[in-house]
């Protein structure tokens, strides 16, 4: 029972960062129809940025996190303007291949700069674990959980309560009509990709402090994000949040009670099962955003 509770605690922490990844991808995929294979590389970018800022430049850990999110946002905007804007009218397969090219370039650049040996980040949190009843959790994980929830809440408010969010939702529903109503669709696309990338970088920045940072960390992150988006239904922030927690639960339970070697298989099995039996996702009644 204690073991089960510990898995649930791990699931909540992992799930909150998965939710960030999923929300970032669901915005990009939902609004722009881009199958963003570079999403995982922005996650790795966030993690390496924190390493660079906090460990090599000696910047305060919390400021380094904020800088990583801003850098992810700028990186996303750069990718959008250089690679995606010229391909605006290309079909979905072509832009997907362009993003695969971007993924290869980013991942190998990380490998080239940082080498294959994993990096870890020291945080200002005490090493001693926090004991709550029979359960143990670290101060860092607790921080990661609440920071991720805060970012999810902020994104929700951004989409549902601001003018930018309204324009994004309008573009999602009907690009041409939104454009006729005076929405600057080009700017919305750039903002969407930048916000989605910032969320991926935030997830990487937070999880990078918990785990070891390697150039390959983005590989599975991109595929897991797809699993989350498929679970939650396209364009649904609430769905992506719940999808993130479900994936984390499946992984924790799979690793704890089936075999730790198949931990990463859970996401893929979920993708296959959901797409075959309920292709619109578990929660989406119809395609929408918000």
């Amino acid at each position: 029972m204690v073991e089960f509770g510990q898995h649930i605690i791990n699931m909540l922490i992992l799930g909150s960062t998965y939710a960030l990844l999923g929300i970032g991808l669901t915005l990009i995929f939902g609004i722009m129809r881009i199958v963003n294979f570079a999403h995982g590389e922005l996650y790795a970018f966030g993690a390496y940025f924190v390493y660079l800022a906090a460990m090599m430049l000696g910047i305060n850990f919390f400021i380094a996190l904020l800088l990583a999110i801003v850098a992810g946002c700028l990186m996303g905007a750069l990718i959008e303007v250089t690679l995606l804007r010229p391909m605006r009218n290309a079909d979905i397969d072509t832009t997907m291949l362009v993003m695969i090219g971007a993924m290869i370039i980013m991942q190998n650049t990380e490998q080239f700069i940082w080498g294959g040996v994993g990096k870890s980040v020291n945080t200002p949190f005490p090493q001693a674990p926090l004991q709550v009843g029979p359960f143990f959790l670290s101060w860092l994980s607790l921080f990661v959980f609440f920071a991720a929830l805060g970012l999810i809440g902020a994104t929700y408010l951004l989409i549902n309560r601001t003018k930018l969010g309204k324009a994004m939702r309008a573009t999602f529903q009907d690009r041409d009509t939104a454009s006729l109503m005076g929405v600057n669709v080009q700017a919305i696309y750039m903002a969407t990709f930048a916000i989605g990338s910032a969320l991926a970088a935030a997830a990487g920045a937070l999880l990078g402090a918990v785990y070891v940072i390697t150039p390959q960390m983005g590989n599975l992150a991109a595929l897991k994000s797809f699993a989350i988006v498929i679970l939650g239904g396209l364009g649904s922030i609430g769905g992506a949040t719940i999808g993130g927690f479900i994936l984390a639960l499946a992984e924790e339970m799979g690793a704890g009670y089936v075999s730790s070697g198949y931990r990463d298989a859970m996401g893929f099995l979920i993708i296959i099962a959901v797409l075959l039996f309920r292709p619109t996702g578990l929660f989406a009644r119809k395609e929408r955003i918000g």
């Binding site: 129809r33 979905i92 997907m96 291949l97 370039i105 991942q107 590989n219 996401g267």
Partner: protein, 347 residues
């Protein structure tokens, strides 16, 4: 002249082992040939039916592992204490069984995953490949996991009474791969010029129209998946028996990417595309390794791929054909229906 061109190319490649003695370059030719077969099989799906499978390496790996296991033998215990013991069989039967098992997986995956299209199909195909990779990594009793299957015997051909020939040397493997490549090329060129091939192209260009004139979508897509998977499995089998060692890394996503880059660069939906693209990307590492680290080579790969997509989205072969005004019926059909006709979204 145009009819003789493929024969001239074949003659040039058939002569390679006669004047090339450098084992490193010969090895590059052989592995390139194996990947060209795999890329040609991917082209059947991507180029002719328009379905981008990013899990193609799964069939390649399944062919490699099945073929190696049939010829090596295995002894595993399944659920409920059922024990399966397999004594080593002749290697040629491994090649055939590997091809068939890969084709069978193509059937199953196709039957299940063609319910979804576009981005969703891509993601299902990757998921399938990652699951097979994790199985190869974790089912240690069968696959040795990360320790790899070693001492895989070379492919042997022969009849009792006449004698046996084993493909052990690089020269013999070169001709073996070239032979399989030519057979694959003939199969695909026959197929795409047949009624089946026209149905596939019709599906790619406009699926709803194709359905409305009575083309059974799922049947043709599954057929393409079976042939494509079997061919990839045959390539995987050749790879296993040539390298004599196979590990779960054979399922890496990067190998699928390599095949996709070859097809897209050469020209998807053209017969010569995977060969041209395959030769380019098979020999970039040979040239680049003298001055670039592996990760720099990959950066060049990625940049080259993006460049091709920006400058020549149709690939090199269609561009050359257009330049020289060479065009056959199939190409004309392709040019008359631009790819912008594909407007269906991922929804």
């Amino acid at each position: 002249m145009k009819r003789l061109f493929p024969w001239a190319v074949l003659l040039v490649f058939a002569s390679v082992p006669l004047w090339l003695n450098d084992p490193y370059l010969l090895n590059a030719f052989i592995t390139t040939g194996v990947f060209i077969v795999a890329a040609m099989s991917l082209n059947l799906l991507l180029g002719y039916t328009g379905q981008l499978s990013l899990g193609h390496v799964a069939f390649f790996g399944i062919g490699a592992y099945t073929s190696a296991l049939v010829s090596l033998g295995f002894d595993v215990e399944l659920l409920f204490g059922i024990r399966v013991v397999h004594e080593p069989w002749p290697v040629w039967s491994g090649f055939i069984i590997g091809t068939l098992v890969a084709g069978l997986f193509g059937y199953l995956v196709g039957k299940l995953s063609f319910r979804v299209r576009d981005a969703y199909f891509v993601i299902v195909s990757i998921s399938f490949a990652e699951v097979t990779r994790l199985v190869a990594l974790n089912w240690v009793e069968l696959t040795q996991g990360p320790l790899a299957l070693t001492s895989i015997p070379p492919l042997t051909l022969g009849l009792p009474g006449i004698g046996y020939f084993d493909f052990y040397s690089k020269q013999s493997n070169y001709y073996l791969v070239l032979g399989v490549l030519v057979i694959s090329y003939v199969i695909i060129s026959r197929l795409v010029k047949s009624r089946i091939g026209r149905a596939m192209v019709a599906l790619k260009e406009n699926e709803s129209l194709a359905v409305s004139v009575g083309i059974d979508v799922t049947r043709y897509l599954v057929l393409a998946a079976v042939i494509s998977a079997g061919m990839a499995g045959a390539a995987g089998s050749l790879y296993a028996h040539y390298l004599k060692i196979i590990d779960p890394d054979v399922f890496l996503f990067l190998y699928t990417i390599t095949m996709v880059i070859m097809v897209v660069t050469g020209g998807k939906g053209t017969l010569a595309g995977p060969i041209v693209g395959g030769l380019i990307f098979g020999f970039i590492p040979v040239i680049a390794r003298s001055f670039a680290a592996p990760e720099v080579q990959w950066i060049l790969y990625g940049a080259f791929m993006i460049l091709i997509l920006f400058v020549l989205p149709q690939g090199i072969v269609p561009a050359i054909e257009k330049w020289f005004g060479v065009s056959n019926e199939a190409d004309e059909a392709r040019q008359n229906t631009p790819s912008s006709a594909k407007t269906q979204d991922a929804s």
